[in-house]
Amino acid sequence: MIDPDQRRTFAALADVLIPASDPMPSATAAGVPDALLDQALGYRPDLAEPFAEAVAWCTGKDPEAALDGLSDQRPEEFQALTVLTAGAYFLSPQVKAALAYDAPPRTARDDVDSYVDMLADVVDRGFATR
């Protein structure tokens, strides 16, 4: 379980890692330090320990300076922190909407018509099979 103090420390780190940039929300505005973090940790329980260690190491430090130190001195923990932060961010419905992409599933309809004329050139160029 992540306690409120850990969440507060993490929230400050998360907003440095992922600030807002229109139309994309910041990490905290997307809800990363709340339920999304729990959801991400549920998918990756192996990261719980390095995540907790990362947050503990950063507690009481300026967030940006803490991230400098963590990435330099504790890369495994920094990796866990950033994977969880970004992973939780992309779980956010708000973020998905802002990304505005037509996600799968999609029918695997062949598109040969779009390139069949080009293929004639490929065939004309030939190939020296040995």
């Binding site: 992922i18 998918y43 950033t82 992973g87 799968p104 029918t107 695997a108 390139y115 293929l119 099979t129």
Partner: protein, 542 residues
């Protein structure tokens, strides 16, 4: 510890339920053999995979990571890779590595079987492309590959039972670039169902092929072979980790000792044993089966078991494009392939060549991963959104599979100091990239940069050698005609042990420069059909 019996009498024991094991089981059970297969992993069903689900991008980095060392499942065994620049990738379960392969269904070229004759390096195979061609045809139509007939790179217009997968916007952009340069490209063949085929539905383009197909469209052998093999009478035992093969006083293999999930040591007896445990697993078990009769490991009088490991050093060249190209869409899978630089050209400073594949680049998390040593501000902070905007949907990969030549010092050995969770010595690989391959990588990376630029890329990001790329585990029990210089004959029969067969990628004489699964399955089919056709002359253990 008492050794318990296995699963009844078997004519044939198969070790490993992957690509070649599936071929063997279906061929032999269908021909009336009593077949038992021991597989250390389990079944995985499409719903077990996470593609298309919220957890996909996080779990593909761990639970569905193609590296057994990263995945660390109970069914996996560790591989010591400290002396290799490339991490071997595999999956242990029904379907083997076809569960996680990207499904590039590529035939080797005729020249691949004659490299000594043509280029004066390595060795020729004991058979030709023409000899293997009917088996390529049969397995391609059996598994339901998607592709387009008429690729001029091949001497024969081999056919596919299914139309090609869509090449998408990113494929079309890359094809236009290749055309500007006058270079070969072709809509790529994939072991993925573009339409419903037998027991598999059509692909839904989740792009999650390499973490297990959530649709069941990919031609993994759990679908293409195992269900039919079991219906034909094959017995498939999962959770059965083979420790060593056993021999009798005539020097014949009598089956295998294995450990079940309860930790019970069992023995499966069989008249014939077939190794299908991949280019690392097979030499591992043969070396671990040393005995007074076979002091250097089973079938190893040549000293070549575990030697000549080939792993296809792989380069990625990524291009960033201004236009939205939907590069999150599958298959992953390949959209295009190019054989432009496959054949030897002496002017390039190396022999042999490389196959290229154009691939998409997945979901958003992929583009935001931090690597140790990288300045975090390059991908996080304000740069996070800039990177995401420039890559997500706009980033494609020309992947380069290079043909590495066999060298004895590239090898699989047993690690004397480490064991898996069942106390079996783990394999260690020692691998170095040769100068020939280094030159091949550099040449092809430079050309792939040009290909992206011709296609309109705004920036290009090459990775000269991708560490996590060792899908192709080849050559560690090579075939040949001379027992002094090869482990098995052209039909996979061990020169030293007449009722032992090896049919996985271990038997490759050279690595070819293409993704090997089509060749592995064609070679396995050729070997097992020969065994079945000649069963009355086959020596068996009592």
């Amino acid at each position: 510890m008492n050794t318990q019996h296995g699963h009844g009498d078997a004519d044939v024991l198969i070790v490993g339920a992957g690509a070649s094991g599936g071929v063997a089981a279906l061929e032999l059970a269908g021909r009336g053999f009593r077949v038992v297969c021991l597989e250390q992993g389990d079944w995985a069903l499409p719903d077990d995979f996470t593609g298309g689900k919220p957890e996909w991008e996080l779990t593909r980095l761990k639970q569905w990571n193609p590296s057994p060392n990263a995945r660390g499942r109970e069914s996996d065994y560790p591989v010591d890779t400290k002396e290799s620049p490339i991490e071997p990738l595999m999956f242990n379960g029904v379907g083997g590595s076809t569960i996680m392969f990207s499904g590039h269904w590529v035939r080797a070229m005729p020249s691949d079987f004659r490299v000594r004759t043509l280029d004066g390096v390595a060795d020729d195979w004991p058979f030709s492309y023409e000899d293997l061609r009917p088996f390529y045809d049969e397995v391609t139509h059996h598994i339901g590959a998607s592709g387009l007939d008429g690729d001029p790179a091949y001497p024969d217009p081999h056919t596919f039972p299914l139309p090609p997968m869509p090449i998408g916007k990113y494929g079309l952009a890359a094809a236009k670039g290749m055309d500007k340069l006058g270079w070969h490209w072709w809509p790529a063949p994939n072991a993925i169902a573009s339409r419903k085929f037998k027991n598999r539905p059509a692909c839904l383009r989740y792009g999650a092929c390499e973490s297990g197909c959530p649709t069941g469209a990919k031609a993994s052998t759990d679908f293409t072979h195992w269900r039919d093999a079991i219906a034909a009478g094959a017995v498939l035992v999962t959770g059965a980790r083979v420790r060593q093969l056993t021999v009798d006083n005539r020097g014949l293999v009598t089956g295998a000792e294995y450990i079940d999930r309860e930790g019970v040591v069992r023995h499966q007896a069989a008249g014939v044993t077939v190794m299908a445990a991949n280019g690392i697993g097979t030499p591992r078990l043969l070396l671990n089966s040393a005995s007074a009769q076979f002091p250097d490991g089973l079938a190893n009088s040549s000293g070549l078991v575990g030697k000549r490991l080939m792993i296809h050093p792989y380069a990625s060249v990524y291009g960033t494009y201004e236009d939205e190209l939907e590069t999150w869409l599958g298959p992953t899978g390949q959209a295009l392939q190019s054989m432009e630089f496959y054949e030897t050209d002496a002017g390039r400073g190396f022999v042999r060549g490389a196959k290229w594949n154009l691939m998409p680049t997945g979901g958003p998390l992929t583009h935001t991963l931090w690597e140790p040593g990288e300045d975090w501000r390059e991908g996080f902070g304000p740069a996070f959104h800039n990177r995401l905007r420039s890559t997500f949907g706009r980033y494609t990969e020309w992947g380069i599979t290079t043909e590495d030549l066999p060298e004895d010092h590239n090898e699989v050995i047993l690690d004397p100091g480490a064991t898996d969770s069942d106390g079996i010595p783990v394999p260690k690989i020692r691998y170095t990239i040769s100068e020939n391959t280094e030159r091949m990588l550099k040449f092809n990376v430079d050309r792939a940069i040009e290909a992206h630029q011709a296609a309109g890329a705004t920036s290009v990001h090459p990775i000269p050698v991708v560490r996590e790329s060792g899908w192709h585990l080849l050559g560690t029990a090579r075939m040949g005609t001379d027992p002094a210089t090869s482990v098995v004959d052209e039909h996979g029969r061990a020169h030293d042990v007449p009722n032992l067969f090896i049919i996985d990628g271990s038997v490759f004489v050279t690595s070819t420069g293409v993704n090997p699964t089509a060749t592995i399955m064609a070679v396995a089919l050729r070997a097992m059909r020969h065994l079945a056709d000649n069963r009355h002359h086959q020596t068996t253990a009592d």
